[in-house]
Subunit: 229 residues, 2 copies
DNA sequence: CCAAAAGTGTTTCACGTACACCCATGC
DNA sequence: GCATGGGTGTACGTGAAACACTTTTGG
């Protein structure tokens, strides 16, 4: 079956920059291409948009098909439409970025006969297409947005210690933060709930665990509160 | 001539939200549709992306063809891909927003046998397609971005009085600002050049004119300076 | 001389920043 | 008992916010 149009049309794809965080650094999920062009190169997960799905749906579907990830934080980033970004033909791609709790998705099994793997953001392989540019823009967006929206919590487990949260900001913003000032500030926001639990399996004093209270955050936001680190 | 593909493809368009500012309020440039669907309704200027032009190029071309505007500040906003946004078929649109010096483009002549006109942002007609949603997002983006990037100057003539600049922020942020604090802050940034000129044709004391020094701004930015209102 | 907007300083308060020690726990 | 990170308070300086009067100009 084929499809005909009066004027030529670009192909439309979605690509996802998936960020995850572990104890060391910020990581990105890449898949190895098993078809030309760029066979063997690492690339962002993504694929063609179908006519019966929205762009968001397409991004979620591709993410699930290629990496097994579901129910992640996902946000549209930018649309890339340079003429020669795909050597085969004109392809316009709507890029997304996703934040996942790396602890939940430790080892990403290969699917689709392709390999998927996490890479530290400052130790990346060469990427296919213009994916380096897309990834750079996603990284920049994350750095910017994490400071004035509470999206960082999407990278942490539901229950976390304040040190983990501080580490998250230090890794993403790429600068050290003062422990006392950080705690003071984040606790003063009154968007965290102190749990009756502490860390387990640590070789030192266990830290108290907290959880992000989305409901409280939304209530405060309506009253003019602005999150900011 | 026709074009065939193995899989069905969405049509790809660009749409532009053009902001302008006058002495009263923030305005948006709309065109009246002369073809179905939504014949007679007002809509954002825009049209189909050709295969030999980038998305940015397409936005500039459509803007020029439909409104006569050239060399304006233009930035990609978001890509809208809901299934039913166009009743005819699947159309994905890459939305842009533009900032223009309304004083330079006073009366927008009709082109393309269509009418173009400026509307106050809080007195808009009903719009075609999902253009109300696009416009709302553009407005939100402008409100956010104007506070931490010096894009407001794109809405003013090259030489302006501080009162005009303050008025701009008051209109966009929709709240009054203190005159003394505003002047102190903006002058302390050291990104304005005080000219040896004053306003003319005003029925009261003429204000000194200033111009935005882009070069100085970029230099300061490299040294870690952050614009913020 | 009157109307209208230009231009100008000081005080107060909140918040960001810098900084060091004792405590609890696991090994 | 020692190593490791958890947890806590204060002093200082900068910058935001509040606030009112005199000056200049055109009509």
């Amino acid at each position: 079956m084929s499809h005909e149009y009066e004027f030529p049309r670009a192909a439309l794809t979605v690509d996802c920059v998936v960020f995850g965080l572990d104890d060391e650094d910020l990581k990105v999920l890449l898949i190895e291409r098993d078809l030309p062009p760029f066979e063997g190169r690492w690339a962002l997960p993504g694929g063609f948009v179908r006519l019966d799905e929205t762009l968001d749906d397409a991004a979620r579907r591709e993410l699930c098909e290629e990496t097994g990830l579901e129910r992640v934080y996902l946000e549209q980033l930018y649309t890339f439409g340079d003429l020669d970004r795909d050597p085969r033909e004109r392809v316009v791609t709507v890029a997304y970025y996703a934040l996942v709790r790396l602890s939940d998705h430790r080892v990403q099994a290969a699917t689709d006969a392709r390999q998927a793997a996490w890479f530290a953001i400052d130790d990346l392989p060469r990427l296919a297409f213009d994916h380096e540019r897309i990834l750079a823009m996603a990284h920049e967006r994350l750095r910017g947005k994490v400071r004035y929206q509470p999206i960082g919590f999407e990278l942490l487990p539901p229950k976390f210690a304040l040190r983990q949260l501080q580490h998250l900001y230090e890794v993403i913003l790429d600068r050290p933060l003062d422990k006392r000032n950080f705690r003071k500030k984040i606790l003063a926001m009154d968007i965290l709930v102190e749990l009756d639990e502490v860390e387990t399996d640590v070789a030192h004093r266990a830290a108290r665990l907290y959880r992000f209270d989305k409901t409280k955050y939304r209530r405060l936001t309506k009253q003019g509160f602005n999150f900011e680190i």
